[in-house]
Assembly symmetry: C2
Amino acid sequence: MKGMTFGQVRFTPSKLYTVANIFGVTHLAGATQNKNDGKLSRIQLENRAAISEAALDVFSTDGYRGATIDRIAERAGMSKTNLLYYFGSKEEVYATVIEQTVEEWLQPFKDIDPDGDPIEEIRKYISIKLKMSAQKPEASKLFANEIQRGAPLMGKFLRTRLKALVDEKAEVIRSWIDDGKLAPVDPYHLVFMIWATTQHYADFDTQVEAILGSAVRKPGFQEQVGQAVLSVVLNGIRPRDE
Amino acid sequence: MKGMTFGQVRFTPSKLYTVANIFGVTHLAGATQNKNDGKLSRIQLENRAAISEAALDVFSTDGYRGATIDRIAERAGMSKTNLLYYFGSKEEVYATVIEQTVEEWLQPFKDIDPDGDPIEEIRKYISIKLKMSAQKPEASKLFANEIQRGAPLMGKFLRTRLKALVDEKAEVIRSWIDDGKLAPVDPYHLVFMIWATTQHYADFDTQVEAILGSAVRKPGFQEQVGQAVLSVVLNGIRPRDE
DNA sequence: AAAAATCTTGACTGCTTGGTCAAATTCAAA
DNA sequence: TTTGAATTTGACCAAGCAGTCAAGATTTTT
């Protein structure tokens, strides 16, 4: 598609292709045929990084449709034309940013250790996830937007790699339950609950702040959230008799 | 239907205005100076309803920016021009749809009964919310999108009425805890958890379906979700000794 | 049935925005 | 320093889209 268009139009000896792995988008990166054998120059590195960062900001708040490459370029400190020199299209910028973020975002989930203590592993996972939501809400918002659009870009990824990963972890949880170390609960829905709850603080930060007011900016807030969420997930709201 | 009322109507020379009070948007409603003293004609009623329904569909999947009034009009079975005869602008359509939905969506929350059995009240609330998410995911997606954009339209509503409502219910939950009928948990975060979890099944249905596959369309699915969510929220995942 | 009011639409306008092009300007290797 | 490659940008184009306008069609009122 993109590649074809370019092949057809004249191959400017000044464009270099980078293969986007997960989402199957082949996209330009800046400079081909540079004698530097595929390696990106200092300027390319800097500019691509600047664009990615700016794009994450803009896409996460404005959504794919709402974002404009003009605004991304401005935020990255360059002209739109120059941005388009590094990324062949808006969609490529978007795909790249999602790619760069998804691995990082999923890492703590992968890190759940089948041999660890179940309660401790889940506690750790929730804590990390909450921290990530607080520190980089843009990442969460970016995904949320993509999924809510029907995941036109990530659809296949969700159905293959993500599903496989969740299946794997669900099996782990199931074995924990079998060992009597967790109360019997559908592992998939438990995962969804954890995702929903932790990401809520990123995706709906506007609402959380509207309701809790300035408290969300006080130092202990994150800990308070962690404690509350963990308390419910681990112990439930039904009083335990002691 | 009391409490927050919308839809007062007043007139101007050539267009009939409808005042959308909560969101402070004054918007046109169609029809020139009809003598019919504020009452909407049969055609007005039908068309406004058709537009609202179509708009909910389109806005919820495409977001505000992504939606076009052309597509809304097409879906409502009329020309864009005609749609604009009933609603003065895209934003008015949007505001109207949000208004029409928010009350309905919030009703079960309002219905939480301070004098009821705490566990039972919360169980009921979660069940209803899950059912709503399954039956009308568009409503949830519409809000999600609005909040994630930074709530340009609903911001004030969130900070005033919604906050007041949540404050009120948080007080109820606190009193339940004081009575020893619930485990001690921050009421606000409990509410957020319930919102996040239940709405997740609407907002992220694409992801849920990608991971669970065809199971989501099987008859018992909704009950399964309800059971899993309730089990965690009520009892937690830490095994209870019997 | 005629008039008045209401409803509907095609044609058009102006603006935004993704993307192209060719002409610079800067950078880096020799 | 020279020279070719890499980088940058202003001018431009076409598509998409919100919103206007005036004229025609339909419904309601008298």
